[in-house]
Amino acid sequence: MQVQSMFFKQRAREKLEDPLLQGNLRKAKGKFVDGRAKAVAEFGVWEEVRTHAAKVRDRALANLDAYLLEFEAHATRRGAVVHWAQTAEEACAIIVGIARDNGVRKATKSKSMVSEEVGLNEALEAAGVQVVETDLGEYILQLAHEPPSHIVAPAVHKSKEQVADLFVAAHGKPRLTEIPAMAREAREALRGHFLTADMGISGSNFLVAETGTTLTVTNEGNADMVTTIPRIHVVITGIEKVIGTMEDFATLIRLLPRSAVGQSIANYLTLTTGPKMPGDADGPEQMHIVLVDAGRTKLLGGPMQEMLRCIRCGACMNHCPVYQNVGGHAYGWVYPGPMGSILTPVYVGLENAGDLPNAATFCGECAVACPVKIPLPDLMRKLREQQFDRRLRPWPERWGIALWSFAAMRPGLYAFGTRIAARVARWMGGREGLIHALPGLDGWTKGRDMPAPAGRTFRELYRQRRGNHG
C-alpha cells in the first residue's frame, strides 16, 4: 500500500472537519471501549493471563529463527509449501507465481492486514486474477476503492447510508435501509464467489510451531469458506506470528476477542495444517504459506522488539483519543492508532512518518488496554528520540529543546530564565490574565487561551513562604 503518512497533519485536519466521518467515529467509540471493559471485568484473572501472554510471545521472539524453522519443518512434513519473502515485492511475486502456475482466475480472500501491507490485490489484479474480499467490511471497502481504517473493523468510518449506496451501485438491487438486509445481500452476492474461486487467500493470526499449523479467527465464517473450498489455499502472514504450542494459542485467544470487541470467543477459530489428506471430505489440494519480513527484523534485538508481541486486536486504537478523533485514514498507511505509530515509521521509514510518534497525548490508555503489555507510549518516545538524534525534527524544535536542556542543567541560569519568563508571560496576559497568542507556538493558542502565570516562579514563592512560616 502506498504510504501517505507524511501528510498526517493535513489529513488529520481534513478528517476533523469532515462532519460525516466525525458522526461515524462517535458511534463506534463507545461500543468497542465499553464492550472490552465489561468482558475484562467479568474475566477474573485478566492481569495473570496478560502476563503469561506477554511471556509466551517473548519466548518465541527471543528465538525467532528456531521457532520459524520448527514451524517450517512441521508444515512441510504435512504437505504445505513454505515460502519466505524479504519484501512486499517478493511476497507479491511468490503469490502471483502460484496463481500463474495453476491457472487461477478468481481468488477469494479473508481479511489479511499483511496482504494490505504488500499490496497483494493490486499485484494479482495486474496479473489478470479477479480478487474478491469476503470479510463484510473489506468487501464494502473493495466496492468503495478505499483502504481499511481499522485493523479489526475495516469499514468503521462508513455509515449504513454510505454502504447502501455502494450496494445499489454494485448489486443493482433496490436501495436497502436496514443493516441485517445489507448483510444478507452481501452474503448472497459472495456465496457464488466462495463456491467458484480457484484460490483462497487468508492471513494467519498465529503460526503454531509444534504442528506447523496456521489459523484464522473470524465471526463471519468467511475464512472457513476461503480455506476449505478452493483448490489452492495461500496463507500470507508475518514472521513474528509464530508461537510454540496449542496451549499458547489457548492463552492468546482468551485475550484477543475480548480486547478487540468484548466477546468471550470469536465464532470461528480454524486451525489449518497442510492440504487435504487422503480420503478427506473437503479441503484444498495445495497449501502455500508465505512468511513475510518486510521490516519486522528491524524491530528485533532492542527495546522495540516488544512491539512484535502485537496480536492485532485493535484495543490500542479503540482507546486512543487521537484515533477516536481523526480515524484510521489520517495515519496514511495500513496500521493506524498507537500500534501503527510505531510500526509505520519502522516499516516505511521514520522520515516518511515522522508525525505519527508525535500524534499522541501520552495518556497511556493504549498501554493499559494492550493484552500483551506492549509499552506503546515508551516505544513512541524512543522513536521521538531517534527523530531528534537523526535531525528529522524541524530546526526551531531541535534548537528549542537544546536550549531548554542547556538551561535545565544549570540551576542558576534556569532560575533566572524562569523568573524572566514568568514576568513576561504575566505581562502578556494583560488585565484578564489570558494569553491569546504565543509566538512560534500558535498550535497551542489557536483554539484556546493560555492562562497567564502569576508572575512569580514556584521557587520564589517557596522561598517567600518559608520565610513567613520558618
Partner: protein, 219 residues
Amino acid sequence: MGARENILARIRRAQGRPGSGPTDAERAAVREAIARHEVGPQPPFAHAPDRLAQFLKECDRLGTTHDVLDSDARIPAALARYLDAGGLERRVTGWEAFAALDWAGAGIAFDNRPASGEDRTGLTGCFCAIAETGTALLLSAPAMPKVTALLPETHVLVVRRARLLDTMEEAFALLRAEVGDPPRAVFFVSGPSRTADIEQTIVIGAHGPYRVHVIVLES
C-alpha cells in the same frame, strides 16, 4: 543466498547471536519448551462445578439454542420439533454417523452427504465440546465434512456429555491423546456466524449459519 537464509541471518544479527542459523542446542531448547505444553492461567468460571450448566450458559450468551436428550434414538423427533418451531423445512443433510437413525419415522428427509450451498439444515457431531466458552470442536475427516457445519443456514450440532470438557487446553490434550497430529482442519464453532462491520451493529448470520442448535446427549 535466498530469502529464507537472508531472513534467518538478519534475525540472528539483530539479536546479536552468532552464525547464520540456530544451533542444534537452540533447536533442542525450543523443542523442549514446546514439549512442556505449559498451560497458562485460566479464568475461575472455566472450571465450574456444574460443567453442563456452564456450557449451556455460554451457549445462551452466543445465541446457540439447545436441547438435552437421553439417547441417540430421540434425535429425529427432537429435531422435527425444532424445525417445526422455527418454521423450517423437514429436510436435513448430515454426517454418516446419523444416517441409521429413524428419520422417516419422524417425518424428516435425511440426506447422507456433504452439504451444498442449497441445503437448509446441516447435522454434524463433534470431536468434543468446551464448557468455558460454549464451543464445539470439529475435525476434518473422511466421514465428517466441514461444509455441512458451514454452508446451511441452520447447523444442528450433537454433543455427547462424556465429551464435554472444561477448557480448550483439555481439548488439545484429548486431541493429542486420541488423534496425535492435528488433522488438516481443527474447527472451533461458537454459536451462529455474525458480523458487526456496518456501524458496529451485530447482525446474526454473516457467511455461516444463522442458527446453531446444540443437542446434548446424556448417554
